[in-house]
Amino acid sequence: MQEYEQEYEKCTFTIGGSPIGYKILEKRQLAPQVKLIKIYAPDIADKAKAGQFVIVRVDENGERIPLTLADWENNTHAITVVLQEVGVTTRKLGALEPGDMVRNIAGPLGNPSEIKNYGLVGIVCGGVGTAASYPIAKALKEAGNKVVSILGARNKELLILKDEMEKVSDELYISTNDGSEGTKGFVSDVLKSLIQQGYKFNLVYAIGPPLMMKSTAEVTRPEGIKTLVSLNPLMVDGMGMCGACRITINGQTKFACVDGPEFNAHHACFDELIKRLKMYPAEERYAAGFQENQGGKS
């Protein structure tokens, strides 16, 4: 490891030459098909801010996919990403072990969250969206906000980062679709009941699957509560070049990578986002079959 660190330092700290790869330091299973990975990337760890993401390319034949930064540490020079193994690339990444290399990581990308003292902030998160919410909740808490977090998943097994979220929240509520933990139902229902109970949110963050963000936006819209979402569209370069991540915001086309990834939830066209996320179903299935026939490259 030390040798690698020295090698890496030669490459990046002097900004000459390219990293030979980014080493995986740690891997943890958070839920079925959900993994947390810590990767050695000092420059990125040094610059990362809440709300930003990285583009990861696993190997020489890999595609570029965006992953939200779930955490970063300056002392270990590591960044943390959480991934759900749904496609070829996330499965490849999930199959890597500590000591293995990720070919390329570009970042931090996207605009950081605007962190200040808003007062009472609601953090509504679903599924792996919790990983993206964690640094935002943490930064908002540090900025003096009262943070009320609502964590949701389809069932108990799929709830992730509960302890971490608890640490950075003043109050934490749980909901599962099947009622296996916390309130039975959706995170947006919990938010609604809190509002009915008299919680006066100054800001709500909704991060998770598009439908969850959409329904949360519909809860806060009539109340006039400022609501932000962090969008997760398909991306290729992640730097404004391709436009794959474009989305209609208040009638205007915006790029999630350079104009976002955070947008006003009440202005975002979620139906468009959902459709654009489904652009490659045939290709995904084909690729997955191909990988299996190849015995799974890594």
Binding site: F13, G16, P19, N61, M241, T253, E283
Partner: protein, 490 residues
Amino acid sequence: MAHVENVKPVLQNRLHAVPSVKVAAKERIHSFQEVALGFTEDEALVEASRCLNCKEPQCVKGCPVSVNIPAFIKLVKEKRYDEAIHEIKEKNSLPAICGRVCPQEEQCQKLCMLGKKGEPVSIGNLERFVADHELEKGIKTPKSVCPTGKRIAIIGSGPAGLTAAAELAKLGHKVVILEALHTAGGVLVYGIPEFRLPKKIVQAEIEYIKKLGVEIRTDALVGRLFTVDELFKRGFHAVFIGTGAGLPKFLGIPGENLGNIYSANEFLIRVNLMKSYKFPSVDTPVHVGKNVAVIGGGNVAMDSARSALRLGAERVTIVYRRSREDMPARREEVLNAEEEGIQFKFLAAPTRFLGDDEQGTVKGLEYITMKLGEPDETGKRTMTPIKGSETVIPVDTVVVAIGRTPNIIIQTITKGLESTNSGIITTEKQTGKTSLEGVYAGGDIATGEATVISAMGTGKRAAQNINDYLKTKTSRLVQETPLSQNKTTS
């Protein structure tokens, strides 16, 4: 192949150029192999013998980097190929690329004296011949120069950045290129397709630049990972910005965000940079249906259309709102596209896209027919839509290739760096100097969308001026601590 091996070409009439051989259209539309084959040695010798070696060569005036064209052609004539490439590389560090993608017909060849009565000398093909000849033999390591101890950061590894880097390295400066993507080359690797510019050629020319001592750091988006200020703090004495025009323009018409509508940038990045033509051996997919429409009339539109054809489209139509004569694409590329069976719809301005409501994918393109009027003050003919002429054509894939604008990440975060409303960095034309001391810019980010060679020209001029600046000025450098020390203390 069309090369006839055992018949030696002979010079029959000085006014006729040796024809350059292309792979037959029927054959080439099924693969991404290079279309233009380049000269054989015999062909090159005959073509070189056509050069009049003018006392006052006009061709040189047409070259944005002032290659001594008659001199290198004379060396080709004498079969002194090593010296010929050396002669070119004095002025141009990317000859194998320029020999392929420069619009010579608008530059050097346009001014060739032979062109007045017949066909100009095929300067581009000769340049390609000597460059390829060297690549085949293996590039020699250039002579080492005395290091100056000055460090320069080049942002972006496209034609402007690579040229500036090479020029500065030749002068003994330590140069580091910062590239945001995972591969160096900029538009040469993400934009121009394999069949027009093989990536191994780009790779080889970049290897040459590395041999000059230039280091390339990939995965580094300046503005996010490092800022321009930090580069100075990290010990760089000057910065050159060559970040190109990387943001795609869209039409802004209804339905444009439907699925399977690509910007040309996305389409070409998937195909060229991510090599999705090899899918599923590589992981990046690209969707090409049966009926593809490409909107625009430039080289990027031709590249997109021809790529779509090679990816299995049954019918590819270029939809352009002006007339054939107005197309900014190189004639040669339009001809190539036509030979391959690309169809053209002129005077057709897209008005909206129709979609499949359930899937959210595109299924139709509506355009309105335009009428050309009298030329306006700028000489361009005015256009008016013909009322009621809206037509819908069925499409299942669309590529929007109507131009690109600068990426403004660096401009917005760098205090004091002036740029225009459209994001073009303001520079002094002759020197590439920006509003910040020690910061220079070149290529599309400073000029707006232009050609590879014009970007190289600006990169070269900026390099010369950076060199002058470093000689005369004391640097802005505050302290030269290695960063590893900064790290532990910060």
